[in-house]
Amino acid sequence: MVSSSMHWVCHWGLMHSMEIDRRSLLRAASASAILAGFPGLSQAHAGTRSHIALCGRMADGLDYAFIGSMDGTALKAIKLPDRGHGSVFSPSGKRVAFPARRPGTFCLIHDIDSDTEDRWLTSPSGCHFTGHGVFIDETTLATTENDFDAGRGVVGFWDTLTGVRIGEFYSHGIGPHDILPMQGGKALCIANGGILTHPDTGRAKLNIPTMQPNLSIIETGSGRMLDSVEAPPELHKVSLRHFAKTADDLVVVGGQFEGAQSDNPPLIATWKPGSPLFFVSIDDHDRRAMNHYCGSIAIEPSGNYAVATSPRGNVAHLIALEEQATLLDSVTLPDVCGAAAVAENAFVVTSGQGEVLTLRIDADGIVHRDRMPLPRSTQWDNHAYSFL
């Protein structure tokens, strides 16, 4: 019987890999931390609260949330019920949240240096998480959610101490994904990717011909829309999904194109609220290199540089955020996606094939890359977040 032999393979695989799991976890831990061993980096973070948070699938096929201190002294791995996605630190960096990858319904809340038990939020019936959130204050988390029966995006607000969902505001679009605090937390910026999905049909996209993504800013306290921007009509199939911002609220957004493969639209834009989107001028070749897909955006603390990763194109583009943003350099790495700032002018990028690289840009604008000597047993998930 064809099907029974297959079950046997799966079952056997699971039994076998439990041991691999413990071993690889120990090996990862014995490498001290995700970032230990990068020249200069661990010393630079000595005595600070700097952490990095990311998700990954280990060799046992199970999904974990990882929290590593950047001085290389601690690494925690917490098993997740399913695949994770993004994460976010509280303002003090003492707490971190991991909302489930869509269409998941769990969100892990972990207190970094207390022995408090981990807490789990559960999205209300009719809603699921989309993998991203932000802390409004030390305890209140805002998460993007899909209110799928209504076909509208919402931002849910959670008391992370009690697990109670306090309320929600309209995200002002369909398919909300990434979310950022703006104006020092008084406002929230939401990337409404524009794509309608419903858990009944998995991740199938239900409205591509008419999709209209936007970036919307709402007032945190009232949900009132303060500002919103769309791409021009000819770019309406560029789903605006991920972004990062500088200290003075310049947003850099990366899109995923849902139109014909033969088209090659720009995917990376900057946005100063109040102005239109400005699509970064990248030549045809480097645009094509992204293969219609930007997976993650990060900006380093000085605001000089951003990185835009493309797991489909196996490339990370480094963008110089000058008056007119331009492409500085590109780094090839198969299935690269996660990206986080680790210091001024320095990023870490991670891949679905277990690679971790640091990218440091020197004063001459030259990019230096270092490969972390980690066992490649963990498939790093789409995003990495740092608290510096």
Binding site: V2, S3, S5, M6, V9, W12, G13, S17, I20, R57, M58, A59, G61, H85, R101, R102, G131, G151, G175, H177, G193, I195, T197, H198, D200, T201, G202, R203, A204, K205, L206, I208, P209, S239, Q256, G259, A260, Q261, S262, R288, N291, Y293, G295, P311, R312, P334, D335, V336, C337, G338, S351, G352, Q353, G354, R376, S377, Q379, W380, D381, N382
Partner: protein
């Protein structure tokens, strides 16, 4: 055997074992897939939609049986190519104009109702519908026009005029896709390289073709079957099925499975296909799972040739439909696992849509 299983497990868990042997003959695979499945199937789609349009031109809307039969033939032909989500069909929203589905919010009925009530005949002309929603331009709208009517009646105006415009639109789109494949896109796919407008290397083209196979299985399971099955037979939702109005949900599923099998085999068992590459790399057992699973589920789907509401109201038929989904999910696991490795591809962990 045991060694093979260990390798499989390591691959599934991403340990990154690399096959040291030479790359498979990608060009031969692509050529076979294009010339034995894609192009002939698009030509068939162009022919069937042109025949349907001719029926409307010649007999007006008088012979409902002939119109429905033409509809079924055209839909059969579309189901043979609907898994192709790259190349000419993705230009100008053609794929959605041919068939906007799933349509959970019933956008088709809404726009169709408004269009039929419009006082201006021009709104229902070809140029009128092209300017309207994609939902009124293709099969789902035509299905409502033809199957919400009694079988022995001619189709009255204004439905008739609109149906004629839709068939003309379908025929035009199908003809354009077939012509573009023959005239240029075949070449684009077979000449990957730095100067190619779409494929920087041949693996990208193979990956797209493999993706069509994998996605067709995923859509069968997640979009066409699981939502209909619901949580239980009591909670099944036959109206979530594709083409339930024309009572051909199971026929579509059977055609899609048959198409997946043809794509896997590169046209038939004798032509260059994914199966040959898998077998060359010692994947006999996985080949048995893929080919055996497709053949078995195709047989079951053909046995369930009845309206979907009847399938889910009978407990043994409901179970059989669940088994089809399970069987296809097993096939998809092999297609995304061992077959990917045999092809020398890596499916990105992070490259899924919308992540």
């Amino acid at each position: 055997m045991r060694y093979l299983l260990i390798v499989c497990c390591l691959l599934v868990t991403g340990a990154g074992i690399r096959d040291a042997r030479a790359d498979p003959d990608y060009a031969a695979l692509l050529e076979s897939l294009i010339d034995h499945t894609v192009i002939p199937d698009y030509e068939n789609f162009a022919r069937a939609t042109s025949d349907l349009q001719a029926e409307f031109e010649t007999n007006g809307c008088t012979d409902m049986a002939a119109m429905r039969s033409g509809y079924h033939k055209a839909m059969d032909a579309w189901q043979h190519v609907s898994h192709i989500r790259f190349g000419p069909v993705m230009k100008e929203d053609r794929v959605y104009r041919v068939q906007f589905w799933p349509d959970k919010r019933n956008i088709t009925s809404r726009h169709l109702g408004a269009l039929l009530e419009n006082d201006n005949d021009e709104a229902r002309s070809l140029s009128g519908i092209i300017a309207d929603s994609v939902a009124v331009q293709g099969f789902p709208a035509l299905e409502r026009l033809l199957f919400d009517q009694a079988e022995d009646q001619p189709l009255p105006e204004p439905s008739c005029g609109l149906a004629r415009s839709i068939t003309l639109n379908l025929s035009n789109i199908a003809g354009e896709i077939a012509a573009e494949w023959k005239n240029s896109y075949r070449r684009t796919m077979l000449t990957a390289g730095p100067d190619n407008p779409e494929y920087l290397n041949v693996k990208e083209a193979v990956k797209i073709m493999h993706g069509a196979l994998s996605t067709s299985l995923q859509i069968l399971v997640n979009v066409k079957i699981a939502p209909v099955l619901g949580e239980s037979r009591e909670a099944s939702k036959p109206r979530r099925a594709e083409s339930w109005r024309s009572a051909r949900a199971m026929r579509n599923i059977a055609i899609n499975i048959e198409t997946a099998l043809r794509l896997y085999e590169g046209g038939d068992a004798h032509s260059n296909g994914f199966d040959d590459i898998l077998l060359q790399r010692g994947g006999d057992e996985e080949h048995a799972v893929i080919a055996g699973g497709l053949i078995q589920s195709l047989k079951w789907a053909q046995e369930l040739d009845e309206p979907i509401a009847d399938v889910v109201s009978d407990s043994s038929h409901y179970s059989k439909l669940s088994l089809i989904a399970g069987q296809l999910a097993g096939v998809q696991a092999e297609v995304n696992g061992v077959l990917v490795d045999a092809l020398g591809l890596s499916l990105g962990f992070n490259a899924l849509d919308g992540d």
